[in-house]
Subunit: 479 residues, 3 copies
């Protein structure tokens, strides 16, 4: 049927006005073939180490992608039917999940999830039909056939995508063996680096805080029975990560508080937390102190501190109990960066070795807090739009909200932050199209010279994140 | 004078870019003649029951419309001169108020109030001049003459407007006799349904809480001397409303808190509130518990729960004392949906019978909270822009803020929320034009297929609110 | 080199769409030659009194402009190298600072600072090259040469800029001698008026509160040892300012709280503050009471009360210690106007003599709070975008956020709020271009008649601020 034919338009996301579009297209052309630098994301390094074929379309496109699952769930689909928390689906269940996606595909019209997947279908897998119940089986079959071919294995795609650097997100106790093996593997030329993500070891109110800190101590070979030991263990594990290629640590708490306690109070509360005898307010106070400690350690070891705060995780108890975390029930809340970071920035904000990148889903802080901070502290950068706002209109809002205060040099460069490996090129391409569109608007309104826009559109995807994340120049394996 | 001639342009609100406007015009053409479904508003059902001619232009367009009065008041006009709190104005005073509007009309340029009224003047009353001091008398006379004609009586306009469903807003103790009479009146084909609005019966700190709950008990025939009796009375009145056609309840408190108390505390605080012996914080705690109870009852009876929170009502004590509520001195404040709804959504958010629609004037929660919630909980929908933000730019911001997370299927459809009967078609038409404009922009930027936009623009005004509010298919009198 | 040539485009900031641009250009043409009315800013009156030549390009364009310095500082430049806190730079250091600006100029692409300076270079100084390391010396020399000429002295520029009224910002204890001398100087025809800025005399928690209030008492000739004396001294100094031409007072605290204390508590806390024995919470409570007092005094003396709240000043202790205030380390925070102003507006909000203009950097309150307040209280106006959001996209957001609720008549008119004298015409011109662009969009979308836009674009820069700030008609020296 002819109305099932579909190829993403080459000018997609470019402004509608013909004169502006022409400028945008020229700018995009300069940017589109730049390599991919991905300094923060959630792909598992074993995907590349093992380089096994992807199992089937559902486990590639649906099950692990909470952006996709959550909207179907809102529309009445049981997460279990999509494979969430089910272990590998058999062929029938996998195909059934694919059909569910096809049935609900019209409800994704206008969403970035659909945009990315359509990009992937067309540009990675060469499929030129729209997904719907009529085409679902044929698309499933075509994808499954491709996935069985060597050129669609993870490493081949990594190369096809032109990924030069890809950061993963890792537990502080992880031995990073997959990273080491990948680095040692001469048949793999990519740079896959770990990221130190210690959140749960700072959440002093968790019932398993004692067990967690024990594990941290074990990994570090340092007794974490006291606060001082814990601090040494953190220092050691950060250095371990840095020695294994990490360039950043990542921090995601309900608020970005960094108020310090006295040493005495920190020691006392740490012990209480280990004993399960810490009050709720005390646990918050200790967590903020421990985050301030991470900043001090960052000034020592130079890991760039990325902050992704203010998400009320696992909002539905029932869903959390049944399916665990990261299944779409994480809801953003308001954030206050100015007060919460003041202690930390007074402590290390002028330290030449310290650097932090501030992310938000709460758009209100973009023009009010993040841009003013990143426009004056040498250590602060404005992170790219994250999660729900990594989407076309929101990305344009972000550029308009921050660039009038900080231009472009104090921004992080694009961060894909994805678990969905195949969406990486689609997301980076979307960002480049939108930067081209944004800059073209400025050029068309004579707010920026074309030469400046041409330079920016080239440096933003590549040189900018390399500089911000201390990744070194292209081709370097370690900074 | 030739510069007094004025007819709203047929392409008004459509995008300026010619190519995008062409797409938008085609989309709008598909939507413009759809019937009107109005699941939430404030028109008095007796207007249609009695079907009396409207008294005069001032009482139709000015006196009851706080959108219109407030701006004149800010510009120095006494609300009394506009008829607020005055009882029916005589001919001279009514004409004087009309002249005041004409004198200040230039100050409404660019506001939705002027846009709606100009739509009404032209499309309902066939007037083709702009309002100003020169034209005021002629327009007053022309309107007065029309209002005396049978085709401008409320029922005739109801038909002319193609309203298929119109919800009113009603007190829980109301016997809904006007609704019954309308439903029984074979000469009237429209569907006019009540809405259960129990706010004041939940405000435990009100000095008249005892009297209010007494009245509730009387209406229900249940002793409300205890919390348990109150709860039963609420259940009974909700069922009474449902049996008389209601499909939703409406809730407007200063915050949308839903934290539950223990049964014991609820009983104790309810008794204290009846005795006028409840503290301010306790009254808030009890009100939140009672709202959580409404959600439980909604899961039983299936009334859709609409939430319109976070307005600081009657901000000026002096104006409230002189003119009462709803005269323009209600000012929005920040809202937090994520924390406040968490208890309720954990209680009934996955119940198949429960459904809630979240409205806001605080635009910050659109992308941050409402879209993420509506995009994962099967029971949550994002309400259309409300009150001050039911306006063209704000409506476009709304679409851009929520559709990237939830598309269109998790939105409420347009809600006019008006007291101004004649503004209903103008408001719905404005919404359709803006949806067409928004979708045309996506099509022109190749972010949505034309076919998808064509389907959406047709379903959004009609099928969407019917589904969200469980109104049944077109033609059904009850769902 | 040809690519160093640069002249700002005559159509800059006008919309890209050709048809809309044509409308915008016509509207801008109506507005561009209007005189400048600047009712709030930070230029030193002695600049005009003494009328000395500007020293050099660096001390004119860089050192005093924290907008410019802060971004260079974030990019690694020491503020001292830019002359901050250094006293006059010698020729070599001044030229070195200028080169630093040239080296970092590309990073300002898209910022209003660069836009304004490019406007100044071209339209004030006739320079037709872009600033970069190649052109830096030539531009420095050309500027230095111009600055030595009589037509580039402050008074000549004041005339060239067509400034009719310019307000300064002044300390309550200032004797305003420069203003008096300027007013008495028959060779100077401009109107330069003081503004009463009493912030620090309200900050009861300051360690120097006793010394400050002593100085206030001395200036007023009234013993400020008691609260009542302080209040009388404030009244006297406000009247002194009014008698010397002031039309407004300005207030910038971390929140706009106006809750009143009992007289007894006010007296007690004032004494405690003088004694350095006030607690932190009490100091906040007293400050809010004192701000409420300012509003009462404003209702007496008719000074318009401008409020610029919610900036966390001197965020970096180390920078404050080294360089003092106003060097770029002031970061905005969230504001709540509705609750904080409720006491004040209930006290004097309906007083015919009282008037307040609400400014914000927190854009969230524009549609939520400021527009709803300014659209109903006769005493409240919505201030123009301020500081970080006095920038093209933010100004357009402001218009779109407030005009749908209040149109244009309840807005302040443009406020430049600048310390950078030469940026005044650039900033006012930017505002006029953006108003023309905004209104042209409404005209093109048939949301406003061309006649209405033509009237607005002319009244907004001139008549509007004259009315709001009670400046009298053009040509009047005092209102």
């Amino acid at each position: 049927m002819s109305n099932d034919a579909f190829v993403p338009h080459p000018d997609r996301l470019l402004p509608a006005d013909p004169a502006v579009r022409d400028i945008a297209r020229d700018l995009y052309t300069l940017a589109k073939d730049q390599p991919i630098v991905s300094p923060h994301g959630h792909v598992d390094p074993r995907l590349l180490l093992e380089d096994e074929p992807f199992r089937d379309p559902t486990s590639l496109f649906i099950t692990p992608d909470h952006y996709v699952n959550r909207l179907m769930h809102a529309r009445g689909v049981d997460l279990a039917e999509l494979g969430v928390g089910q272990g590998p689906l058999d062929e029938k269940a996998s195909r059934r999940a694919w059909h569910l996606l096809a049935e609900h595909w019209h409800a994704y019209a206008g969403t970035p999830s659909r945009y990315w997947m359509e990009h992937e279908f067309a540009e990675v897998f060469g499929l030129e039909t729209v997904l719907n119940p009529r085409t679902a089986d044929a698309m499933y079959d075509a994808l499954a056939e491709k996935l069985a071919q060597p050129e669609f294995r993870p490493r081949a795609l990594f190369d096809q995508f032109k990924i030069e650097v890809m950061a993963t997100t890792d537990d502080p106790v992880d031995d990073l063996a997959p990273h080491d093996a990948l680095a040692a593997d001469e048949s793999f030329g990519g740079r896959v680096i770990p990221t130190f993500r210690p959140d749960k070891y700072l959440e002093a109110g968790r019932p398993d805080f004692s067990a967690l800190t024990d594990a941290l101590g074990e990994a570090a070979g340092i007794d974490t029975g006291t606060y001082d030991g814990y601090h040494e263990a953190m220092r050691a594990r950060r250095l371990y990560f840095r020695d294994h290629g990490a360039v950043s640590s990542d921090h995601a708490h309900i608020d970005p508080g960094t108020a310090r306690l006295s040493d005495e109070d920190a020691r006392r509360l740490y012990t209480a937390a280990r004993d399960g005898a810490i009050g709720a307010d005390e646990a918050v106070a200790l967590r903020r102190h421990l985050l301030a400690d991470q900043a001090r350690l960052a000034a020592e070891d130079g890991l760039v501190m990325t902050i992704h705060p203010a998400v009320d995780r696992n909002h539905s108890d029932a869903v959390f109990k049944k399916f665990g975390p990261d299944v779409g029930f994480d809801i953003p809340v308001a954030v206050d960066y100015v007060h919460h970071l003041r202690p930390m920035l007074n402590d290390v904000g002028h330290h030449p070795n310290f650097r932090t990148v501030l992310f938000t889903i709460d758009e209100t802080v973009l023009s009010r807090e993040i841009a003013p901070l990143a426009g004056v502290y040498p250590s602060v950068y404005a992170g790219a739009p994250w999660w729900f706002i990594d989407a076309p209109d929101a990305i344009l809002r972000y550029r308009r909200a921050v660039s009038e205060t900080i231009g472009y040099s104090r921004t992080s460069g694009f961060i894909d932050d994805t678990r969905a490996f195949c969406s990486i090129p689609a997301r980076h391409d979307m960002s480049r199209r939108l930067d081209a569109s944004h800059l073209a608007g400025l050029v068309a309104e004579h707010r920026m010279r074309l030469e400046d826009a041409q330079e920016l559109v080239v440096t933003l995807p590549d040189q900018q994140p390399r500089e911000v994340f201390r990744l070194g120049a292209a081709g370097e394996k370690n900074s």
